[in-house]
């Protein structure tokens, strides 16, 4: 094992070595390592390049807040992710990792020329240039900027993994399993309250994992932790690790993503990669802890410069010394303990540089014991080293004056600029924050949600304080829910409490104009950039952030927000709260798209509804089209047929003999009750009172704005019972609209609506032979014009099945619609198919249905009408019961513009050259005019028609009804087509073919 691994330290499994690669080079780490801890153990600090200047970077942190050490991770084909944080990714046997944003290599990167020219790439430089010559932006500048930007590369293959999601309901959700969270969960887990404890790390413990020295109630921290976990399990607390609470939504709904396989060498079967938990908790305890701030000074981004607390974590949790000869640079007591831990682990601590004028005696004494050189009241002004820090330049500061600097050789700089409470989820609740002058940070104030904050995220410090606060909060929420938690105050020995001060940039004797003192590491935002933004008039932190991109990197400002705010406030000469804090947005850490998509991929992306006859269509070679949620048979091509040929064959067969069509997707609503007819009179434009039982009528439905919404044939089965049909796409919408009027406007009506869309399978038979085919199968009614004329309906028996038989036609041929209970639909279809063989029965799809109905001039709502067509426009004035006192849409269609002259009206079109028009083609009166042309309408439907012997079309044309016989023009890209306006009915205008 390498010299950086300290025997007897850490929670990694010394017995289990794990092999992985970084940029193709093999490395060995230990089970429990992250990529970052394993590489550091191997003495590798250089792990990435920055965004803008391509500067060499190493890990600055040890957790999910890491801005620098971003790598590509791969597990064979299809399993690659860019921008993975090396500090979070656990290693497993065979993991392949690669560095990013460099060419040709991480050590020698061409992009680093940007660094040399950094003075040009100041904040917002791109707003000020690249404007001339104009054409260059698109062709030269932007492609150049785009190529230089971005971090890793996108995946290029489809993702073979699966993702999952679940809802989870609990009494108390505790976010963060550090000391505060653990204590809160323990205290809340009483009286059978359902408690969930969640943490983003591989194991619970939080800061305790980095502070093994603490003695909790006399027990060593890690022993106490182990016992506590057992106690929590015993108390029924659900502990979820590797699970990140990403967002806090309305009324205590928390989104959490659990990572199930990214840490495993072998993928278990039937196990999703990630699972989205949608948790609804009665109470939420946020115990997200605090994040350490970097110090801002020239060269603070050199590999080897790292947060002191993180160095402590690498040592105590992973047994890794991040440097043999570290220098500690701090404005907070906490870093002193890092110094002690590293020294005790065998590191030669070169010095503790503290920016404060005085430091606690006990710390001085401890340092003395270890013979560590102290530089109190000092600043740091530079680092040296290209790929790894080799020295730190420090200067004494006396009464604000920076004295002469001198250099301390080192292989690591461990810094601490103090700590920032982690308030991300609290911020998602739109909670308000209060500025704390002493801690120079924001603390939680009020929130509209039902949650409390515990521990370090409200500025507390030290294990004991945090533990007891957690317990108090846990008890409080339990009490809130009627639980009675016991007293669980605990005492902690060798606790590490501490305080510190906060800085903007550290004072320096070098030219600040040349300083590369980084605030946002990943986006290469320096203190200088922030001050420039302010100089240019950016006064709110939002403006500064957007102008400099500070806080917009993949760590979302976890490292940079407060330092950025302090510097901006200083530049503006204002207090931080007056400058404001940018709101944290979900997700807490970057979250894979797959986790959001969950199960909704591929065939399961959305419901696909199929009729009972769909199977037959599939077996018989149907081509399908999606219509709303349904898939419908579009046409039935025979081998070698294209769509046009198939459709022409289907049309001819139906007009000559008989065609069979699956109409089951039509919406069906049963309207029942004494007031059924009154309800129908009010809903539909048509009058219904005189419609006798056993008869049907075409019904037209408008909105109260007077425009057509839906249509369908409606049968009156008995005085109080109507069988209403709607369009396929309109079924749910129409039922909802009816319920709305019935429940809200006319609750007095004694009538009820029931959806029977799927109760019935509906098979349409059309063609001269339809009656002959059907008659032998029907019991209870003679299929003659006398006994069962066109537009009749009856309940009878067909092929031994109870049926609702309608004599209706959407083709202009003799037509029947047979409704049988859905489960028997396919059986009936097959019976009819067999019986139809003697007539060369032909199955047809929606396209043929469209052609046949167009030849007969029947409209399709949604194709021949859009939301702007009135019944009059559509030539359906006859379907409007003008004598009715009121119906939905009556007042709307009386509005000035709906009654004005020159509205677009639905007509037929026949092209002079017999060419087929394109649906959607626009119509003009004067084809010679220049662009922009005055358009007077468009083609809504257009088909080849063998029945007519030429293509036919329906179109909306300005004043069309008054222009019969006139010629209009359809300008196409290549030519202009002339067409004659005709009535809409092209086939059998006097309905002779409807007679048996």
């Amino acid at each position: 094992m390498s010299g950086n691994r300290v025997a007897g330290k850490g929670r990694v499994d010394v017995g289990k070595s794990v092999r992985f690669t970084f940029d193709g080079k093999p490395f060995v780490g230990l089970k429990g390592d992250t990529v970052s801890s394993a590489l550091l153990a191997n003495g590798v600090h250089l792990m990435g390049r920055s965004f803008k200047y391509h500067r060499p970077r190493g890990p600055v942190a040890a957790g999910s807040e890491e801005p620098n050490a971003l790598i590509g991770t791969r597990r064979g084909p299809g399993r690659f992710e860019p921008n993975t944080r090396a500090t979070v990714q656990e290693i497993w046997q065979g993991l392949e990792t690669t560095s990013q944003n460099k060419y040709p290599s991480l050590k020698w990167d061409i992009g680093a020329v940007n660094d040399a020219a950094y003075m040009l790439f100041s904040a917002g430089f791109y707003y000020k240039t690249f404007m001339w010559p104009k054409s260059f932006w698109h062709r030269v500048y932007e492609p150049f900027i785009r190529a230089a930007a971005g971090l890793g590369v996108s995946p290029t293959e489809e993702d073979p993994d699966t993702y999952a999601s679940r809802f989870l309901h609990c009494d108390v959700l505790v976010v963060g399993a550090g000391p505060a969270g653990l204590a809160a969960a323990r205290a809340a887990a009483v009286d059978g309250l359902k408690v969930v404890l969640v943490d983003e790390n591989a194991e619970v413990g939080g800061s305790l994992l980095s502070e093994p020295q603490a003695l909790v109630d006399g027990q060593r921290a890690w022993d106490w932790l182990a016992a506590e976990v057992e106690a929590l399990k015993a108390a029924g607390v659900r502990i979820m690790t590797r699970t990140t609470a990403i967002g806090y939504y309305h009324q205590n709904m928390i989104g959490m993503v659990e990572r199930l396989t990214d840490h495993l060498s072998d993928l278990p079967a039937d196990t999703p990669r990630e699972r989205m938990w949608r948790v609804r908790a009665k109470r939420v305890v946020l115990a997200q802890g605090a994040l350490e701030k970097p110090l801002v000074f020239h060269g603070n981004d050199c590999p080897g410069v790292m947060l002191a607390g993180s160095a402590q974590t690498y040592l105590n949790r992973y047994g890794v010394l991040v440097g043999q000869r570290p220098v500690i640079l701090t404005s907070h007591d906490s870093a002193w303990f890092a110094a002690f831990d590293l020294a005790d682990a065998g590191a030669q601590v070169q010095a503790i540089v503290d920016t404060r004028e005085s430091v606690r005696d006990d710390l001085l004494a401890e340092a003395g014991k270890r013979g560590i050189r102290l530089k109190i009241g000092h600043t740091a002004t530079a680092t040296k080293g290209r790929l790894r820090v080799t020295s730190l330049r420090v200067n004494p500061v006396t009464d604000g004056k920076v004295g002469a600097g001198y250099v301390i050789g080192c292989d690591a700089v461990l810094m601490s600029g103090g700590w920032t409470p982690s308030l991300h989820l609290f911020s998602h609740t739109r909670g308000s924050l209060a500025w704390d002058e002493d801690l120079t940070t924001f603390l939680p104030k009020d929130t509209p949600e039902n949650c409390v904050i515990a521990g370090a995220s409200r500025g507390l410090w030290g294990v004991e304080a945090v533990l007891n606060d957690g317990a108090d909060k846990g008890r409080a929420v339990a009490a809130d829910l009627g639980g009675t938690g016991g007293e669980t105050a605990c005492s902690v020995a060798s606790d590490r409490t501490g305080t510190g001060v906060s800085h903007t940039e550290l004072p320096t004797d070098l030219n600040p104009g040349k300083a590369k003192a980084f605030v946002d590491y990943q986006n290469d935002v320096t203190a200088k950039d922030l001050r420039l933004a302010v100089r240019e008039g950016m006064r709110s932190i939002e403006h500064v952030k957007r102008y400099t991109t500070n806080g917009m990197a993949t760590d979302q400002g976890k490292m940079s927000n407060i330092n950025g705010l302090n510097i901006a406030a200083d530049a503006l000469g204002k207090k931080q709260p007056q400058v404001g804090l940018t709101t944290f947005r979900p997700p807490y850490t970057p979250t894979s798209f797959g986790a959001f998509a969950g199960y909704h991929r591929g065939a399961h992306f959305e419901v696909t509804r199929k009729t009972r006859i769909d199977g037959w269509a599939e077996e018989n070679g149907a081509v399908f089209e999606p219509v709303g949620q349904w898939r419908r048979a579009w046409h039935f091509p025979k081998p070698g047929e294209d769509m046009d040929t198939a459709v022409r064959r289907e049309c001819v067969a139906t007009r000559q003999s008989v065609g069979i069509f699956d109409a089951s997707t039509l919406g069906k609503i049963e309207v029942v009750g004494p007031d059924a007819v009154e309800f129908m009179n009010r809903m539909y434009t048509n009058p219904w009172t005189k419609l006798a039982p056993g008869r049907c009528r075409y019904g037209l439905l408008c909105g109260d704005d007077g425009f057509i919404r839906d249509d369908g044939v409606i049968g009156r089965l008995t005085t109080d019972r109507f069988h209403v049909t709607t369009t396929t796409g309109g079924a749910a919408r129409v039922l909802n609209m009816m319920e709305d009027y019935l429940q809200t406007e006319w609750p007095d009506l004694n009538v009820w609506l029931t959806s029977t869309t799927e109760q019935w399978a509906t098979i349409a038979l059309n063609g001269p032979k339809a009656a002959a085919l059907l008659a032998p199968l029907v019991e209870g009614v003679d299929l003659t014009d006398e006994a069962f004329p066109h537009m009749s309906c009856v309940e009878c028996t067909v092929a031994g099945m109870p049926a609702r038989l309608f004599r209706v036609s959407f083709t202009g041929e003799i037509g029947f619609e047979v409704n049988v209970p859905a489960p028997r639909g396919r059986t009936l279809w097959e019976v009819l198919w067999e019986a139809g063989r003697q007539y060369d029965i032909c199955a047809y799809g929606t396209e043929t249905m469209h052609v046949l109905r167009a030849e007969k001039g029947y409209i399709i709502v949604g194709q021949d009408t859009d939301g702007t067509v009135t019944p009059k426009d559509a030539g359906l004035d006859w379907a409007v019961g003008k004598s009715k006192p009121d119906f939905v849409g009556k007042r709307g269609m009386a509005r000035p513009d709906l009654t004005s002259e020159g509205r677009k009206q639905l007509v037929g079109l026949l092209t002079e050259d017999h060419s087929r028009l394109e649906e959607g083609a626009q119509i003009v009166f004067d084809p010679t005019q220049a662009l922009p042309m005055t358009m007077v309408g468009h083609v809504t439907s257009s088909y080849h028609s063998d029945a007519v012997g030429r293509p036919i079309a329906l179109a909306l044309v300005e004043g069309g009804h008054g222009r019969m016989g006139e010629t209009v023009h359809i300008p196409m890209p290549d030519r202009t087509i002339a067409a004659k306006i005709t009535p809409m009915v092209f086939v059998d205008p006097d309905n002779a073919r409807l007679k048996i």
Binding site: A164, R166, R280, Y599, T608, R612, V672, Q759
Partner: protein, 183 residues
Amino acid sequence: MNKPMSSEPEVLAESAAVRVRLAKPCARLSLRARGDLAPLEAALGLSLPGKIGERCTGGELEALRLGPDEWMLHLPEGTVEGVLSSCAGVYETLPHSLVDVSGREVTFQIDGARATELLTLGMARDPESIAVGEGRRTNFDGVTVTIWRDADSAYRMDVWHSFAPHVLHLLETGCRELAAEAV
């Protein structure tokens, strides 16, 4: 789902954690009425549950109240005509709507140790809010379904036929997923 249904519950998905079966077909009636329900109750031979979500049975007839004026009735196949006619008898005194929807829906039977958790894959409401012996109409993965809770970890789920394959796909996935979990 399009193949004719067998007379015995057909196992659609099964794992150590949970089992999903297709219930054998039954007759289903959607009943709508308001006011004094006594005549209807007499005709049906049961007293209709008074609270949304409550169930009751009368002979072979099982009723679940879905709304203020709405009940779902499950009864053996072939007994529909009788119920329809006896209710028709009281229509004049108590107007109501009774519509045969037997063909509209299929029913999944979900049972096994983790049946309740299986529901949480697609159901936003807390399954525990449905007491044993009660039922609710709700939303499962975007689809309207009716849940009948028959025992602690035994449920029936009524789904409109055309949505059933989508719902079943998720139930099958969950069956495997739950079994793969070390609990």
